[in-house]
């Protein structure tokens, strides 16, 4: 069994997938800048100020981050990437979820019927433990297993 963490479930679900880890605040707008401005259909992170994720394809991955930061228009961007089916499958927050991400994932869930499994308050140790490429098992109750 791998290392276990227990967080708070914002949007529940069971999922197993590969981790993409950022130790920097996840800048939603900068990540999907080409989606917003160029109409791109790619889920690749274009935030060149994020050395952890730059040029990583986040589509279908388990995104592990402290919080999201940046543009207050981020909520609409979550909905755009959900519409285009290029969103991460899950978002795991070390800190308390912020209002921009919360609005985005909840509106996507309620208005598009498309879910990004979301768990927050996993703690700083979670981000210290998890590495990009790790296999992550997410359980409905907010238990996260890193293998």
């Amino acid at each position: 069994m791998g290392k276990i963490f227990k967080g708070r479930t914002a949007l529940s679900g069971n999922f197993e997938g590969s981790a993409e880890v950022s130790h920097y605040g996840f800048n939603t707008a900068a990540t999907y800048i080409d989606v917003i401005i160029g109409g791109s259909d790619s889920g690749v992170c274009m935030d060149h100020d994020n050395p952890d994720l730059f040029k990583h394809d986040l589509n279908g991955k388990v995104l592990c981050i402290p919080q999201t930061v940046g543009s207050s228009s981020a909520a609409t961007l979550f909905m755009i990437i959900l519409q285009k089916n290029i969103a991460p499958a899950a978002m795991l927050f070390a800190n308390h979820i912020d209002s921009l991400a919360a609005c985005g994932v909840l509106m996507g869930d309620n208005w598009l019927d498309k879910r990004i499994i979301t768990v927050d308050l996993l703690g700083e140790d979670f981000l210290k433990s998890v590495k990009t490429g790790d296999k992550i098992k997410i359980s409905e109750d907010g238990t996260i297993e890193i293998n």
Partner: protein
């Protein structure tokens, strides 16, 4: 450089602050089950879909959002809504789509609402054909947004971030519950008026306003309005509000503060004369940090009512003196591409100017122009303000307004930051008196005396 990753697009948080952005920090929160949010029978009916699918989706989103931040109930909203979304572009297409569904479903906000200023003012801005073309391309869905907003209950031509000014009339009372977006308006309504609103994300503001309800957490609660910081201002001369606000925002991030040492500069408390000062101080706290509320001893309503009792028991103290303000000012980066170049435009007013600020800036500029024997400003200069504030200023001060106009100064009603952020204008060297504009764009912040010198002479004074 960590800012302008969006080529200066509006709304960017350039400080990339780790915060909830609600105006209520959750630094020590622990994982656990979401709180139960108890609904009234009427709310439960909406939740169960008995009032239609659109309202059901709206309340489900609002309830889930509230639970994440600790809400245990909803409250009815008072006064009227204010929305930050004032630009129609492809970037906000999902919201436009949802808002259209709400409008087509015959739903309206609980009271007529106001919204932030439009990105452009094609009537009052001296825009080149190229600028106009670029702006119309970026904000290609403005007409669609305006049409939807009007259907949802927006007041006609009510586009200004300073919606609480009497000329605009969206002025909540003490204790009113709101679900506003636009960080500077949130800050003013909480701090100067004693109304209660969290810092809401766009989208949540509209859904709450359609329901006429908001989740109760953070700045809507007595506990959430207690101050975690004592800001001890130790200055003999009235400081620039933009610098005080900047220092506080950078220090406290999103905590509530209790400011002392300022009441001697602001006799009369919250009145027409002091409105501009409090507006700019608050906007700087909100943009340099993520502050939704400050109390100011002897000035703001809750500080008058509760005094130092509104401080948390374990509050921290931050001293602001001349040395600290100079230290903060020295940290502001020069983001002009040609750093030593001469400024090309002067932007005054962000948030939109109050009546008092239009009068004060007119007197300042007229005095300096007459002393220098000049009849035209040496650099394009703009007072950004709501058109009814401008009309009030012109009506009550016809001589001032006539002179200002004759110098070549115009009063556009759009958002200066959005104009500043279009690719054409964004490349210019812009000087501003707004710390908010400094934070969100490549414009540089200068003090009033330096800007006045610039307006009259076309160049900055030495050591500005």
């Amino acid at each position: 450089m960590k800012r302008h990753q969006l080529n200066g697009q509006i709304g960017t948080d350039p400080n990339f602050t780790h915060a909830t952005h609600t105006g209520h920090a959750k630094k020590n929160a622990k994982a656990g089950a979401l709180p139960e949010l108890k609904l009234t029978p009427e709310e439960q009916e909406i939740f169960d879909g008995k009032k239609g699918e659109l309202l059901q989706k709206s309340i489900k989103t609002v309830v889930a959002y509230g639970q994440l931040f600790g809400a245990r109930n909803l409250t009815d909203l008072d006064a009227a809504p204010h929305m930050a979304m004032s630009w129609g572009s492809d970037g906000v297409e999902p919201f436009l789509k949802i808002y259209k569904q709400l409008a087509d479903g015959g739903l309206k906000t609980y009271a007529p609402f106001t919204a932030d200023p439009k990105p452009m003012d094609f009537e009052n801005l001296p825009m080149s054909d190229k600028e106009t073309e670029v702006a119309k391309k970026i904000y290609n869905r403005m007409d669609e947004l305006e049409e939807i907003n009007l259907k949802l209950g927006m007041l006609k031509d009510a586009w200004s971030c300073a919606c609480y000014l009497p000329q605009m009339g969206n002025t909540p009372k003490f204790g009113d519950m709101l679900a506003w977006s636009e960080s500077s308006a949130i800050n003013f309504s909480n701090s100067a008026l004693g109304a209660r609103t969290n810092r809401n994300s766009m989208g949540i503001d509209m859904l709450c306003s359609i329901l006429g309800k908001a989740p109760v957490f953070g700045l809507l609660t007595d506990k959430g309005r207690k101050a975690k910081w004592h800001i001890d201002v130790r200055l003999d001369k009235m400081p620039n509000p933009e610098m005080i606000g900047s220092a506080i925002g950078i220090k406290v991030v999103e905590d509530v503060s209790y400011i002392t040492g300022m009441d001697k500069f602001l006799p009369g408390g919250v009145n027409e004369e002091n409105t501009g000062y409090l507006k700019d101080l608050g906007a700087a706290t909100a943009s340099n940090g993520a502050v939704g509320l400050y109390h100011m001893e002897g000035v703001t309503p809750e500080a008058l009512k509760y005094g130092k009792d509104i401080l948390e028991d374990d509050y921290q103290t931050y001293i602001i003196d001349e040395i600290e303000l100079k230290r903060i000012y020295a940290t502001y980066p020069n983001l002009w591409k040609e750093q030593e170049g001469t400024p090309e435009r002067v932007y005054l007013g962000c948030p939109h100017m109050s009546y008092g600020q239009m009068v004060d800036w007119s007197n300042l500029i007229i005095g300096a122009m007459e002393k220098a024997g000049k009849t035209k400003v040496a650099i394009p200069t703009y007072f950004f303000g709501y058109h009814k504030v401008a009309e009030d200023y012109e009506k009550r001060n016809p001589e001032l307004a006539k002179k200002i106009k004759s110098y070549g100064i115009s009063i556009p009603k759009n958002c200066p930051m959005m104009w500043c952020s279009t690719p054409v204008s964004g490349a210019e060297r812009i000087a501003t008196n707004s710390n908010k504009t400094r934070v969100y764009t490549t414009a540089r912040f200068f003090f009033d005396d330096a800007l006045t010198h610039l307006i009259v002479n076309g160049e900055l004074p030495p050591m500005a």
